[in-house]
């Protein structure tokens, strides 16, 4: 049925077995974001070497969408050049999830992207609308 499409196996797998879950010791960058609507939290620690994401871990709590999205994000980021990471867009994230996300859940899906943009790029004044 439809929900099996929505909560696809690989999403539930990332939710139940999150990749790169945990903290880094002495990270070069560390940032957390919080979704007030549902209480979801995602944080990421980065080790940067020569402009490259040498290591990344995430921690947090929340719904399957926000946690699977963060887990997927860490897989994508590992070994990526920061300048390429900067180009990751909302659409990239949604395409990777490969499901149709309703407006109320968009913030969940994009929470890890927000952590990346605000934390790793220091885009403190990033427009909220990008993550809605």
């Amino acid at each position: 049925m439809a929900d099996d499409q929505f909560y696809r196996e690989f999403i539930l797998d990332h939710y139940r077995n999150p990749r790169n879950f945990g903290r880094l010791e002495g990270p070069d960058i560390s940032h957390e974001e919080y979704n007030p609507l549902c209480g979801d939290l995602v944080g990421m620690d980065f080790r940067i070497e020569d402009g490259m994401i040498a290591d990344v871990r995430f921690h947090g709590r929340g719904c399957a969408i926000s946690q699977a999205s963060a887990s997927l994000m860490t897989e994508r980021l590992k070994g990526m050049r920061l300048e390429d990471a900067r180009k990751i867009s909302k659409d990239d994230v949604l395409n990777e999830l490969g499901i149709e996300i309703s407006p109320a859940r968009l913030k969940c899906a994009l929470l890890s992207l927000k952590v990346l943009k605000v934390g790793a790029y220091g885009l403190a004044n990033v427009d909220e609308e990008e993550f809605e």
């Binding site: 049925m1 439809a2 929900d3 099996d4 929505f6 909560y7 196996e9 539930l12 609507l37 549902c38 209480g39 979801d40 939290l41 709590r61 929340g62 719904c63 399957a64 969408i65 309703s102 859940r105 969940c108």
Partner: protein, 414 residues
Amino acid sequence: MSTSRSSQAPPALDVEAVRKDFPIFETGVAYLDSANTAQRPRQVVQAMVEYFTTYNANILRAAYGLSETATARFEAAREKVRAFLNAGSTREIVFTRGTTESINLVAYAWGRQHVRTGDLLVCTVMEHHSNLVPWQILAGERGARLEFVDIDDHGRLRQDQFQRLLEQGPRLVAFNQVSNTLGTVNPYREMTAAAKAAGATVLIDGAQGAPHLGFDVREVGCDFYAFSGHKMCGPTGIGVLWGRRELLESMPPFLSGGEMIKAVFLDHTDYADLPHKFEAGTQAIAEAIGLGAAIDYLEGIGLDAIRAHEAEITEYAYEALSEIEGLRIFGPPPGPDRLGVLSFDLEGVHPHDVATILDRHGVCVRSGHNCTMPLLQRLDVPATTRASSYLYTTRDEIDRLVAALHDVKRIFTR
């Protein structure tokens, strides 16, 4: 599965007949989010449409027939609210946008006048943000202390703690009649009596109480009572603050401008008599008339019948949910001190995922913090799923909820 708990037969409610008054049910949704906002019967919508299309005019200000009709209907709605609350006078009935504005009115107009450095304000850990943040801000501004009554393991207020706080002579005691997350009906009569005896001013947040239990301001003896139209089958954009007349009279105005004045001069203003002193600007006229129609509607069916129906549905739902493995319900068990608000946790599945899957089954429930974050911190959960019922809720809707929850479990244990 369950039968009515009361031994004397309550007036019967024909839920299928009731549902015919609510056009939205034709869409087929199972609406279990009435604690968030209720559905509106066509009688309420019709009252508003009638205003807009046959006697649409501003009130109070003009001397022609349309305006006089509008004024009369608006004031008739106020009288309906007065009777609903058994208040002594329509002068005590102030129209606002909703519970939130009502409480803010008190926090600004009464609070800024009466709360001083070192004063104690007593609230509870189960309050909706709307009956918590205004007091937090007031306490911060005035250097007052804000203390919270905790709950016990069944989601009931700890009366021992409340008593100890009362011994310190609080300036204000503010609590909800019914919790919007736990469904707990607080012992508001006893709490009010004790708080008044301790010299406190008492505000009761009736957002979740008024729609189901009604309220008798003279019997309870509190000082302020606030509720929202949209949670009791009325329209959005309207609510009520009831206040004891002497208190309202001694308070400065809150919002100022048109309609709340007797006379304006460049250097000073004489304010209008109650209740207009607190109703600045063009009022939510259609909405007040709609609220009047909602009160007529609920009273036509009978609050007792509604209460009995809800008690039955609540018991049915409570039992059905309890049978789901890994599901934990917050708040007291069914009984006279609990209404049909069922917040629960389903092990291993976040409430947002629960709600999303339920939605795909056409079942509408609330997921999140229900505007009670401190309560959720106390319960040590980041969010809950909440199913809430009202006069139009059926066993069938509960069955659909339960079936959908089994699907959630199936998906998440695949």
